[in-house]
């Protein structure tokens, strides 16, 4: 059971990192248009790759 003393603070750090990554993703607009990308394949001229 002593391992808890190590694991619980460790989980704190991991969750902190996960939360930071999540917030970063949201702020960068990763979740802004969840429906849009399904239609990208039908769209002939909006791909940035072309340029």
């Amino acid at each position: 059971m002593e391992i808890l003393v190590l694991l619980i603070p460790l989980s704190l750090l991991l969750v902190g990192a996960a939360a930071w990554m999540f917030l970063w993703a949201v702020n960068n607009g990763q979740f802004d248009a969840l429906d849009r990308h399904a239609f990208d394949i039908l769209d002939d001229d909006s791909g940035e790759e072309k340029q």
Partner: protein, 705 residues
């Protein structure tokens, strides 16, 4: 020069418009302002040196609350909600794990040191949830303190109580902790709120497509192209629409034909070809080569602007439903707070150690969120769904009326049929000097000069040449062909006697009938399927028309509906009233001014896109699509919406009636209360979201063109 579009939400009256205009005109660098009072928008032309922020300040100084349109306000609020939800979710996973260990440990005699460690860990994970994720509830509760209690109050109280008691117990090292309940409660409530937000956003998107117009367009003046503000384009000016651009104003097509995506107007994604001289509408997308058009309506009177205004009317009405729900919550919340207090007092007498838990449980379990979400969520979802199939509601109460609807009166011309007549047969009397092709050619050569709608049924003339053409309005066209006097038009005009068989167009040579043309209005392609679907929905369909008995009969046979022919506007009203006196709830679908009395009397009035403006202004429902299938879709969605609202209300009420006594008796642990309450809200939202799904076959019917 730069253009800025500024929304001024509180600019309601003509006086306000004047104030805003004066405030801006006094500013250096402002070249012109155009105010659209209906949309509460100001379009400002200013030089590049002027910062839009200065314009906003100026309008604010005049006592309004402006903001730049197209600002990312909504997406920000959604990101914000998502972040709060994510933080709560991550914390919930951890706190739940600790909670399981704690519950198991309570049975298994866990060492106090580990117990304390787990409690402290839960506390640490709980702090961001309470101080960040749950913030909207605290803010909402504080705000409602003045204006009457809303549902945020018991939520905020429950979270604050449970957290502070748990905190005290953790610090003192004795007593139970409720971190798991706090975190789960917050997370599930935020989930319900997030779904609600997404439903609303989808509805706004579908409406925003109506209002999303570019600010500038290319105007051609004396052969020179220049950019100009759309609001400043006068009717009669020539406008250039480039490849892939949005048509900025309503107008008639110039020399080039156009391929247009009219889905913003009609909901139909099939591209439409428009020939030179045809009417095109603002808001449609140019999918072909560039073309020019002659504007024939100012930008704020364009069809799309009018529809947007009507749709806004429905939206403005929506809060009434929400207010109603909030009023229920308003009665409910004080009762809940009193019940919670009462529970505490009673348990203090019986068993003080359980008083706090029982009170907390009542507080958590009885939040009337589900109750106040039940109606607005379903209505928003239904209206979004209908927008997708090209139906705009101008009154949201239409949805509730669909349940009792059992009769429909459909106007024939222009509603069941398309306005463009079609030539169906040519009849040559015995002894006619012409064959069919010749007769058609001569008639076509004459009709080319007429502007009557019936003339459009004739093809382009091939070989026939006519001279001395005279158009007699309301009668026909006369001319000279190969030295003979030829006339085409009504039988009376051509031969001096009415035609016994009621052919609508007759060709005569030197006063003798040479050919007779049978014309018919073609039926909308899916009229048959739509009427069958309405009948299946238990709605008695009747066709009413001002047209003659004989012409109605053949169409009525084809569509298998009863009909009333030769109706004047007043008698159409009479038919509606008779049905209503029988206790029927009547929907009237019409398009012309002659339908207005009947539409006004109808329980639900619907108008097709081609209707005259007066009709559209008065209609409860606008069919933007050319498919009549939208009508049964409206009935289906309306009824499903009503059913879902009743399910939601029944669920929310039943749940509360069952849960509150259980909680007050102390039979429910707080975490069960949190789970039950929040999942009941989520269930209500998800139930409403079901309306967004399609109902099937009608979607794929071909467009009627």
């Amino acid at each position: 020069m730069t253009l800025s579009t500024i929304s001024v939400g509180d600019m309601h009256c003509a006086g306000c418009v004047g104030k805003v205009e004066r405030a801006l005109a006094a500013l250096d660098g402002v070249l012109a302002t155009h105010v659209n009072a209906a949309r509460r928008q100001v379009l400002v032309e200013h030089d590049d040196a002027t910062d839009p922020a200065v314009l906003l300040e100026r309008i604010e100084a005049a006592g309004f609350h402006p903001h730049l349109t197209g600002s990312a306000e909504h997406s920000d609020s959604q990101r914000d909600l998502l972040k709060r939800l994510g933080v709560a979710g991550l914390a919930m996973m951890q706190v739940m794990m600790a909670a399981i260990a704690l519950y198991a440990g309570a049975l298994d005699e866990m060492a106090p040191a580990y117990r304390r460690l787990l409690e402290l860990a839960s506390l640490v994970f709980c702090i961001p949830v309470v101080s960040y994720s749950a913030m909207p509830f605290f803010v909402g509760a504080l705000r409602s303190w003045r204006s009457g209690l809303n549902m945020d109050v018991p939520i905020a109280l429950a979270i604050a109580c449970a957290f502070s008691v748990s905190l005290a117990h953790t610090l003192s090292g004795s007593g139970d902790v409720y971190y798991d309940s706090v975190v789960m409660f917050t997370f599930l409530l935020l989930t319900a709120r997030y779904i609600d937000d997404r439903l609303k956003q989808r509805f706004e998107h579908s409406n925003a497509r109506l209002a999303a117009m570019p600010a500038e367009a290319t105007v051609i003046e004396n052969g020179i192209r220049r950019r100009a503000a759309i609001a400043a384009i006068e009717p009669g000016s020539e406008v250039w629409v480039g490849e892939g651009e949005q048509v900025p104003v309503d107008g008639l097509l110039g020399a080039n034909p156009a391929v247009l995506d009219e889905s913003a107007l009609t909901g139909e994604s099939v591209w439409v070809r428009r020939a030179s001289g045809e009417q095109v509408f603002a808001g449609t997308l140019n999918q072909g080569a560039g073309f020019s058009l002659i504007s024939n309506a100012p930008a704020d009177r364009s069809r799309i602007a009018q529809i947007a205004d009507l749709a806004n009317r429905a939206q403005a009405e929506k809060p009434v439903v929400a207010q109603y729900a909030d009023r229920i919550a308003g009665y409910f919340v004080p009762v809940v707070l009193m019940l919670a207090g009462l529970t505490w007092i009673v348990w203090q007498q019986l068993d003080p150690s359980r008083a706090f838990v029982a009170m907390l449980t009542v507080l958590v379990v009885s939040c009337p969120c589900a109750l106040s979400l039940a109606t607005p969520a379903a209505i928003t979802a239904a209206m979004t769904r209908l927008r997708q199939v090209g139906v705009v509601l101008t009154r949201s109460s239409v949805l509730e009326q669909m349940r009792d609807l059992n009769a429909a009166l459909l106007d024939k011309t222009g509603t069941l049929t398309i306005h463009t007549p079609k030539l169906v047969a040519i009849d040559l009397p015995a002894g006619s000097s012409l064959d069919e092709a010749e007769a058609l050619d001569v008639a076509a050569a004459l009709q080319r000069h007429a502007s009557h709608p019936l003339a459009r049924a004739f093809p382009e003339p091939q070989a026939a040449r006519v001279e001395d053409v005279t158009v007699v309005s309301g009668a026909g066209v006369s001319g000279r062909w190969q030295g003979h006097d030829v006339r085409v038009g009504s039988s009376e005009f051509c031969t001096g006697t009415p035609d016994p068989d009621a052919y609508r167009v007759v060709l005569s040579i030197d006063g003798v009938t040479a050919a007779r043309f049978a014309l018919a209005d073609p039926v909308r392609a899916d009229a048959h399927a739509a009427i069958a679907a309405l009948k299946r929905a238990g709605i008695a369909v009747t066709m009413v028309s001002g047209d003659s008995e004989a012409r109605c009969a053949s169409l009525a046979r084809e569509l298998d509906v009863p009909f009333v022919a030769q109706q004047a506007p007043e008698t159409k009203l009479e038919v509606t009233r008779t049905l209503q006196q029988r206790g029927d709830r009547v929907l009237v679908l019409g398009d012309g001014i002659n339908d207005v009395p009947a539409l006004a009397a109808a329980d639900v009035s619907a108008a097709v896109l081609e209707s005259s403006d007066l009709v559209k202004r008065n209609a409860d429902v606008l069919l933007l699509t050319r498919r009549l299938g939208a009508l049964p879709e409206l009935v289906t969605v309306g009824r499903r919406c009503g059913r879902i609202i009743r399910q939601n209300l029944a669920w929310a009420l039943g749940y509360n009636l069952l849960a509150i006594p259980t909680a007050a008796l102390g039979l429910m642990p707080p975490w069960v209360a949190a789970l039950g309450m929040a999942s009941s809200s989520t269930l209500v939202m998800l139930n409403a979201a079901r309306l967004l799904g399609g109902t099937g076959a009608e979607d794929t019917a071909p467009e009627d063109r």
